[in-house]
Amino acid sequence: MGRYIIKRLLQGIPLLFFISIILFVLMMNMGDPVATMGGRRVTRASDYERLRRQLGLDKPIYTQYLYWLIGNDWTKTDVDGDGVAETPGTRRGVLRGDFGVSLVSRKPVLQVIGERLPNTLILMLASEFVIIVGSLLVGVYSALRQYSALDHIITALSFIGYSMPIFFIALLSMYIFGVLFKRWGLPYLPTVGMFDPQAGKTTAQVLWHMVLPVLSISIISFAAYSRYIRSTMLEVLGQDYIRTARAKGLPRREVVYVHALKNASLPIVTVVGLDLPLLLGGAVVTERIFAWPGMGRLFLDHVSRSDLPVVMGILMMIATAVVVFQILTDIVYAWLDPRIRYEK
């Protein structure tokens, strides 16, 4: 098992290289960060050349990639435009933990991401918790009570939830729980930001402000997961070993939650393992609608201004997380299902 994990990690390295090259080339061709750098107006032609030179954007793409990857502190660059490379570079490169400086805010990329990542993590982990716990409860319940009235209602609601676009869910929940509740004199939920500026950033405030974004993010996945769990549970409950467990006289909850759920969790783990790393990217739409200062909004703000260092930083972080979570999924899989062994 240990050898397998090391092998998988080593396999991940060339994969990440490959991903980084593709992303880099795509980003370089997406837009011109210098075009509107100074503000609303188009950058003057004389400044344009100077800025490109100072930011290293005048170099060929492979040189830029090399500098991004391993830095440029080992060489000298021409910054003042006299054709002589005399200024020593200061970048240390991604491989040495330097993701560069944001072209927009001039802050280090890691600092920019570091400010936003916790906000996204609390939002997304809370949502994932709601999704998994909720869909397990609902999915198992509807599997055990197949074709009951409540099962039919859950099925109908799931399809409604699954077929609504997330921005609609977000706006609808804002309208109901924010606008209408306020109008009816009920306690209403906040719809913007992480906390009320007058109250300050307290835990209670953040939790209160999280309710609607979490609701919006959860509904679609919750509907999909609970359907999925229902069908896997139904399949497992029809197996011979479940009949054996019942014939032994085990209490029902032990049959369902040990014998059935452990088998049913295998396909569920695969789906969750694929979804979890994407949480780091944040919920672009939801964060935007609720003005939640997270990764999704950060990504959108910076990609629209072609801020290559920040965008590359976010994308590489997600790519790495996907690779790592795939390996974690395999480990959990082997732990759950003894028939799977990763020997080679």
Binding site: D240, Y241, A247, K248, L250, R252, N263, P338
Partner: protein, 328 residues
């Protein structure tokens, strides 16, 4: 001998999209302490469904037990609550299933699956249960049992898995073991070993066995009494020797004729029963075997023959006396 289980007029149906399956149609039988009763009949004749109805292991819906009683001591199993049933299953009545490859949970260790009943029914702690599990595995002939508790089912062969199933069934010393074709999925040498093992354990533990099979050869060497089923009906019931020497139902006759025998000429073809079992989606109105029966009379098609004693404990459900060929 004390009566252990008495089933009276059991009727089980399945409600499926295509209609209603009349799976068990008024089955009555009994079994006494320490007795071995064999239930024979071709696939789909309701042998397993009868037993699973009694243990209430059928998923409802689609299954529905329409009527009947299953008296266990002074209690009717069909009217007990699910909680009370859990107390009986595995502890007083245990069951071994047909396919050992799918009947064990693939993601739990053999040890865990063996100790569950001990824990639930006998309230043993983990250490005590593990020790008992080792003894049980040794009893059913698993070598190096102590080191194999942590193994998973896929690490066991088919024969060994069936031994584990038997150990699991016997761990609480049930008074009745229902063995649902426990040898069907195994190859012939292993089959013989399993039959021998069950015989040995039956004598040691003095338990009653209901042995479901379609192999009349195995039954002859094992059972005291035989019950022949067809299309959800009991068609004949007799002591094992009576049944083989003096079969009274046309279906039993045909079954025995289809059996290969060493004392018969080898160049003669084995007899088969023409036709197919009846469609169980149609409510039975006459004798279910009538369409395939060479003795069938007009009456057979419209009236269901009741199971009536012909001689001592020998009972048969037929309008015809096969010894004469005329009506009874």
């Amino acid at each position: 001998m004390t009566m252990l289980l008495q089933t009276i007029d059991l009727k089980t149906r399945f409600h499926i999209p295509e209609g209603t399956v009349y799976a068990v149609n008024g089955v009555s039988f009994h079994i006494s302490e320490g007795e071995t009763l064999a239930v024979v009949g071709e696939s789909g004749c309701g042998k397993s469904v009868t037993m699973m109805s009694i243990l209430r292991l059928l998923p409802a819906p689609p299954a529905e037990i329409v009527s009947g009683q299953a008296l266990w001591g002074n209690r009717d199993l069909l009217r007990l609550s699910e909680n009370e049933m859990e107390q009986i299953r595995g502890r007083e009545i245990a069951m071994v299933f047909q396919d050992p490859m799918t009947s064990l949970n693939p993601v739990l260790t053999i040890g865990r699956q063996l100790t569950e009943s001990l824990r639930v029914h006998l309230g043993m702690g983990p250490a005590e249960a593990a020790q008992r599990a080792v003894e049980l595995l040794e009893q059913v002939g698993i070598p190096d049992a102590a080191h194999r508790l942590g193994d998973y089912p896929h690490q066991y062969s088919g024969g060994m898995r069936q031994r584990v199933m038997i150990a699991m069934a016997l761990c609480c010393h049930p008074s009745l073991l229902i063995a649902d074709e426990p040898t069907t999925a195994l190859d012939v040498t292993i089959q013989a070993q399993i039959v021998e093992l069950i015989k040995k354990l039956r004598d040691q533990l003095h338990m009653a066995i209901i042995w479901i099979s379609h192999d009349l050869g195995v039954v002859a060497g094992l059972a005291n009494r035989v019950m022949v089923m067809y299309a959800g009906f009991v068609v004949e019931e007799a002591l094992v020797d009576d049944l083989y020497e003096d079969p009274r139902h046309p279906y039993t006759l045909a079954l025995l004729a289809a059996l290969p025998r060493v004392d018969r000429r080898r160049d003669r073809r084995l007899k088969s029963i023409p036709g197919a079992p009846p469609n169980l989606l149609v409510e039975p109105r006459g004798c279910p075997f009538a369409p395939r029966c060479e003795f069938a009379m007009e009456r057979c098609r419209f009236e269901i023959p009741p199971l009536q004693p012909v001689q001592g404990t020998h009972a048969v459900a037929c309008w015809v006396d096969v010894t004469t060929g005329g009506p009874r």
